[in-house]
Amino acid sequence: MNATPTPAAAANAPQPAASPFAGFLVGFLAFLALVFIAAIVLAWPMPPGARLMPLFAACTGLGLSLFAIIRLLIGQWREAQQAGEGEASYDIASESEPIDLLRYGGWMLVYIVMLLLLGFIVSTVVFAAAFLRIERKSSWLAIALTCLLTLGLAHLLSAALSVQWPHGLLLAF
């Protein structure tokens, strides 16, 4: 027969570790709350027809994010997490750290900036070659093949479906 634990026993029982993302979540929710506040401030002077929806969305979002922050700060979150164990996760769990975002997001950012400056062909060749050489230590043959395949596919899409490439400020191809 299952016995209900006494309050003292419950207090002495080992507590599950807080979610490693709880701190990040509070910060993220605080950021969202600021976004919602800014959205309300910006929407206020708009004509009634234009501001109805932004105010509806921003006020709802602000209320919910503040409620979530308060719940987190007063420690009910852990309880909520425990109660929800075994339930479905509605999204794929994260596996990367901020340092990974800086590293690989940085590669993505560099490619976009190159595209805006050097155009599609030069940026694609430089990006693919640099990434494969630095991150994977690929041979030059593999790099050349990857570049050829990627550019070939892009050309095919461009010819068959009128897919356009971004033009750079310095080079227009």
Partner: protein, 495 residues
């Protein structure tokens, strides 16, 4: 009606008509897996070819493109975690984790079979709807449509597993992002900061690829190795998918019917159909612990629904001449080009042509499944390649796909910004799907909210349809809270 159906079958089985249908199917399958380039592009591409064609052949070809797009866009969703089209976004949630566990073949085969049966059931629903859909759809006024959208949003938010508040917050953020750009009911722009790119709002493709594809890529690159973390025999995986279909046949029927129903409501589209069905399958499941980690039911439900919704989508298009989506607008344009007047009169004057569309839908789904199953094995091997080797090519394709939205530099900047937002949400444990659904529903909710408030004042709350949906929302809410309380009680008893 049966005579018209048989006559249409004879027409569609003529070699020339069948060849046009096959051309449409092949174009649809080829374009489906390319992120950002979907059935809409395929239909636009083939639209000029319909000039001078026999109406039955022209419509068969265009229906062929649109019907199969939701089948082949599953390849990148399951294998790479990148949505090929809006209908495959929900499939990522469980299909991609299955691929990473070395079960890509199982996920793909189950998905293709579900898509096929979904498409066939969608065609059946369209057939059955012909005599009864008109009074039903006409009974929906603006307040009912508003309540339906809000109900969908609440359901998705509340179904966000252990974090309903976070899900609803994400949905509110999606609604807010959906208001960026020109206001539909007043001559002002909102949150554009005088940036010309934002005047027309944020493109859906850019938002969805940034939100889902980029964070996934950072995660796989950080983990290193291939997408699949486990190796498995593809052959057994394939049969496992077929067995899954047999095991969950009821899910296919249930979600196909729901998907077709959602498709019949103009504006909701395949993304909403897939997400709502994904949420619903989770809610109805006894064991929810595997969802989001690789549960085959999370693949079968959205895939059945997104193909079935094509059949539902054709109901308002053919019966009222009201396009349910952008692709249906192209189909309507083609009908006008071919000299066919869609609407209630079509049923009286040219019923066999309506059945040509229905047969095309059914045959296109059968053909697409056959082709995808043949391609399944070689394409699945992609998950065994080191991801760092294929990352540059995939990222470049994503960038190209995003750039096609408006062909403006802003597409690329937004892609990165939403990638950052998606990564932040993923890391914080905040579900991203409600944001996307809020964003998609925002224009519709705004229009309906304004019309409802300005035309009906508070009287709309007393309409029977609205009351029924409020009761339904309350029932969903109460059921969710009751289940949570029951789970908590059980856990306390176990402790």
């Amino acid at each position: 009606m049966i005579e018209a159906a048989l006559e249409a079958l004879q027409i569609i089985l003529q070699p020339s008509h069948f060849a046009y249908l096959a051309l449409g199917v092949i174009v649809g399958i080829a374009l489906g897996p390319i992120p950002g380039v979907g059935g809409l592009v395929g239909m636009t591409l083939l639209l000029p070819l319909t000039y001078g064609l026999d109406p039955a052949a022209g419509l068969a070809m265009l229906v062929g493109v649109g019907a199969v797009n939701n089948t082949s866009d599953t390849f990148p969703a399951i294998l790479l975690g990148v949505p090929g089209g809006s209908g495959s976004q929900a499939t990522i949630m469980d299909g991609y984790p299955l691929a990473r566990q070395g079960q890509a073949g199982r996920a793909l085969s189950a998905s293709f079979m579900a898509s096929m049966f979904g498409g066939l059931i969608g065609a059946l629903v369209l057939t059955l709807a012909l005599p009864v859909a008109r009074p039903l759809i006409l009974s929906f006024g603006t307040p009912e449509l508003l309540m339906l959208s809000l109900l969908g949003l609440c359901t998705v938010g509340l179904l966000s597993g252990r974090t309903p508040i976070l899900g609803l917050t994400a949905a509110a953020l999606g609604l807010l992002l959906g208001t960026i750009g020109s206001a539909p009911v007043a001559p002002v722009t909102r949150y554009t900061f005088e940036i010309e790119y934002l005047f027309d709002g944020i493109p859906l493709i850019v938002l969805s690829m940034g939100l889902f594809a980029l964070p996934e890529m950072v995660d796989i690159l950080a983990r290193g190795g291939a997408i699949a973390t486990k190796m498995s025999s593809f052959g057994s995986g394939w049969w496992e998918g077929v067995k899954d279909m047999r095991r969950h046949w009821w899910l296919v029927i249930r979600h196909s019917v729901i998907g077709a129903g959602i498709g019949a409501i103009p504006g909701l589209g395949s993304s909403i159909a897939a997400w709502l069905n994904y949420g619903y399958v989770i809610q109805r499941a006894k064991d929810k612990s595997r969802f989001g980690k690789g549960d085959i039911r999370g693949v079968i439900a959205p895939e059945s629904a997104n193909n079935a919704q094509e059949g539902g989508n054709l109901i308002p298009t053919l019966l009222f001449g009201v396009p349910g989506s952008a692709a249906m607008a192209i189909l309507l344009a083609a009908m006008v080009v071919l000299g066919v007047q869609p609407g209630p009169k079509l049923l009286e004057s040219n019923l066999s042509l309506v059945f040509v569309v229905i047969w095309s839908l059914a045959f296109a789904n059968l053909m697409a499944t056959g082709i995808c199953i043949v391609l399944c094995r070689p394409i699945s091997r992609m998950t065994l390649l080191p991801f760092k080797l294929i990352f540059p090519a995939i990222f470049i394709l994503i960038v190209l796909g995003a750039f096609q939205s408006t062909r403006h530099i802003g597409d690329l900047v937004c892609l990165l910004l939403f990638g950052l937002l998606g990564w932040g949400m993923k890391r914080a444990g905040m579900p991203r799907p409600p944001l996307l659904i809020g964003f998609i529903l925002a224009p519709m909710i705004e229009r309906d909210l304004w019309v409802t408030v300005s035309r009906y004042d508070m009287e709309w709350l007393t309409r029977p349809g609205v009351l029924a949906m409020i009761l339904l929302a309350a029932a969903v809410l109460s059921f969710g809270m009751w289940k949570k309380a029951a789970a908590k009680r059980q856990q306390e008893l176990r402790a």
